[in-house]
């Protein structure tokens, strides 16, 4: 296989891997979550898919709908 072709394939593979990492990072940052702070200084965070977050997310969507309707 010519050297130029190998380098091209290597570059393409590296770009694909880097793009995948960046995409996953951006998706991870935008994950739906609930952060709750208590008066004793403690804090809990629930991510999308947990029963606690699923209980509160509908109310948040209602709030956003009320603000934007």
């Amino acid at each position: 296989m010519p050297r130029r072709k190998v380098l091209g394939l290597l570059g393409f593979g590296t770009g694909l891997a880097a793009g995948s990492v960046l995409y996953r990072r951006s998706i991870g940052r935008r994950r739906q979550r609930v952060d709750i702070y208590f008066d004793d200084g403690s804090m809990v965070s629930f991510v999308d898919g947990s029963p606690e977050a699923d209980r509160l997310l509908p109310a948040a969507r209602e709030a956003l709908a009320a603000a934007r309707s």
């Binding site: 940052r29 935008r30 994950r31 739906q32 979550r33 609930v34 952060d35 709750i36 702070y37 208590f38 008066d39 004793d40 403690s42 809990v44 606690e52 209980r55 509160l56 997310l57 109310a59 948040a60 969507r61 209602e62 709030a63 956003l64 709908a65 009320a66 603000a67 934007r68 309707s69």
Partner: protein, 140 residues
């Protein structure tokens, strides 16, 4: 600061905040940036549900002071300070610390205004110390 003015200042300072509403412990709207009262009431109802729902995650007497729910469409913030509460909606991926700071400042400003008439009604202000002009012949 007047609650409506506090909210106006808040939305002017923070470009991330789309709508905000001040409400009390009975979920009554005190002031809102929304043009329609019905929408303000709906936002307060949802915010009160969030506070109540979040409070159920702890079995002890510890109270929720603030919360953020981040969705793909935007975030909802609720902050509580005694009987005063504020709820706000933002664009997606807001600067969380900054939004909480602005909401707390707004809440404090509005609460301070409410405390003023109460202080005035509680009686005359305590006498302030006055300097007496010295008599020309008085001993020093």
């Amino acid at each position: 600061m007047d609650p409506a003015q506090a909210l106006a200042d808040l939305t002017e300072i923070s470009s991330q905040i789309e709508a905000a509403v001040l409400f009390d412990e009975n979920a009554d709207v005190v002031a809102s940036t929304l043009p329609e009262e019905q929408r303000a009431r709906a936002l307060v109802r949802a915010a009160a549900d969030l506070l109540a729902g979040a409070g159920r995650f702890r079995s002890d007497a510890v109270e929720v002071t603030q919360l953020e729910v981040a969705t793909h469409d935007g975030s909802v913030f609720v902050v509580r300070d005694g009987p005063h509460r504020i709820a706000a909606t933002t664009t997606p991926d807001p600067t969380v610390g900054l939004v909480f700071y602005d909401l707390k400042s707004c809440l404090r400003g509005a609460a301070a205004e409410e405390a003023k008439p109460e202080a005035a009604a509680s009686g005359p202000a305590p006498p302030t110390k006055r300097r007496r002009k010295k008599e020309p012949g008085a001993e020093t």
